[in-house]
Symmetry: C2
Subunit: 322 residues, 2 copies
């Protein structure tokens, strides 16, 4: 179908950086990785009805599918370089494609990440993006490096995207219109913490992005590092909008189990906090201890947190945990 010729114009980068020897347009892309660096690669699929609602604004969708991948690069402390787009669409809808590509390209421009290849196919709406970044040799931030005595921190605030999803699904309406707009924005347009990730590469021990809910993601860190953790639930960073909806232990459970925040959770020596806190909004929420699991404290008492309402569902469990 010649309509597909139109698509080219939406996804052909105007500028090609020096690291891209061959970009879009041959059997494969040819890319240069500078010496002294390692390549960081992550892939993420978003399926209509599973990872995003069928009525999502295509501009927001374009932003979102790239943002969730950039969040993985952020969690590795990597500098974004390139991405590929595998786009499966049921039919050619030029207005939809234009808006989708605008959302995608705007975020790509903001983070200086360049489209180097892709594939467009017909089928149920689904988007697979693969991102490439680089780190100096040995500088990648892993889940497995948490050390006993580290403080546990989280960026931004937790639980907003969960409320945004509830609002988007029509299951909740916030009393304050500005709050409603805020949580919807947190859900629809996650902001990947790339700058924080790169700053962490000099000081943090273990890093993960909070995509499945802090409860699940912190468990990954603890398991991979062979340590335990204590979380002070009254220290969780919660936005004003969030606090207007829930309080007490209910708020804690929502903030810990709700997904889609795309903040970073990381562990590091307490002495490294001061410099970092000057530039980024980060909150200390706990400590790495000897042990094998995460214990939660609230008002100085240990509490049981029900994280089963979180995002550990079929669609978000990955091959081998990537």
């Amino acid at each position: 179908m010649r309509e597909f010729d139109l698509i080219e114009s939406f996804f052909t980068p105007k500028q090609v950086s020096e690291s891209v020897k061959v970009g879009v347009g041959d059997d494969a892309a040819v890319l240069r990785v500078s010496s002294g660096y390692e390549l960081v690669v992550s892939v993420d699929t978003s399926v209509e009805g599973i990872h995003f609602l069928p009525d999502i604004n295509p501009y927001d969708l374009g932003h979102r599918v790239l943002a969730v991948n950039l969040s993985d690069l952020a969690a590795m402390g990597a500098e974004p370089l390139w991405f590929t787009l595998a786009l499966t669409i049921p039919k050619v809808n030029v207005l939809w494609l234009k808006a989708f590509s605008q959302g995608l390209n705007a975020l790509a421009h903001q983070f200086s990440i360049e489209l180097v290849g892709g594939d467009t196919t017909q089928g149920p709406l689904s988007i697979t993006i693969q991102v490439f970044g680089r780190v100096p040799v040995g500088a990648a931030l892993l889940r497995s490096q948490a050390q006993v005595g580290d403080v546990i921190c989280v960026s931004g605030s937790l639980g907003d995207a969960y409320l945004g999803l509830k609002c988007a699904q029509g299951q909740m309406t916030l009393a304050n219109a500005a709050d409603q707009a805020y949580v919807l924005d947190r859900y629809y347009k996650p902001f990947p913490q790339v700058a924080l990730g790169r700053a962490l590469s000099k000081v943090a021990h273990a890093v993960i992005d909070v995509s499945d809910g802090l409860c699940a993601d912190l468990n990954h860190v603890v398991k991979a590092s062979g340590v335990g953790a204590v979380v002070a639930c009254d220290q969780l960073p919660l936005s004003a909008a969030f606090c207007g909806v829930a309080s007490g232990l209910e708020a804690v459970e929502m903030a810990l189990s709700g997904g889609d925040d795309y903040e970073l959770c990381f562990t590091l020596p307490a002495c490294a906090l001061k410099t970092l806190a000057r530039e980024f909004k980060i909150t200390v929420i706990g400590e790495v201890v000897e042990g094998v699991d995460v214990s939660y404290h609230y008002d100085d008492a240990r509490v049981n947190i029900d994280c089963s309402q979180g995002y550990i569902h079929f669609s978000d469990v990955d091959i081998g945990g990537i």
Copy 2:
């Protein structure tokens, strides 16, 4: 769903090579590209009902989705290194997954290409594979380098996979059972011409893999290189099975427009042929000339070839031609 834990075992490589610093299991993979090499990257999505039939044997599907990506590396003259798998499945079917992973892993092992990451999601069956390879700096084989005076060659034989598809769809049955098995195998289990591609990197000018039918793919070469081509249709390599089904111009049109062959089409100086032909089955089918299009000759007369029955359909048109 805990069933997904099972999946891990199917897709976790037993051995990890030195180039993979972090493979499956963190937010992203961390990979080493040796100095003196460039990275070659290609991505390809296969959707049920579009790129493969719903009743395909999952072992063959696992083979096929990786093979079509390896074919792109072959066309660049690249050495395969790593791949990622984004697998979208409607439900967890352990027997299906086991067979799929066996087909995938067997081919991966054969070509020494290593799974380094992926994503498993719920949704309509669809598989996106991204392959990574390497070439010495400057050695990538492009579509755009055909030179006037080059001979045009193709590997293997053409049109078999097209017949295989017709047989698989029940639209055709070959009189000879061995022929039927052969063409079905050509369709279901394409063999990527990686060794030929690497041998070509020293001698060929332009290379493309024949996935959409030679007619369409040779057009890409001509367009990208700014040259013309003359094809001697009576020289096209056709298998005995194929010749049992069609002859004359009908056979020529089927062989030129049928897709899924995953052979290589390439141009090079005639003097380079002899050495190459000792090791690989290759056939000279024409010559690169000055001009802007491809002319087809049969029995010493110019003929019009109807390539519109080929694979230039919605599902196979790629972003920007990749």
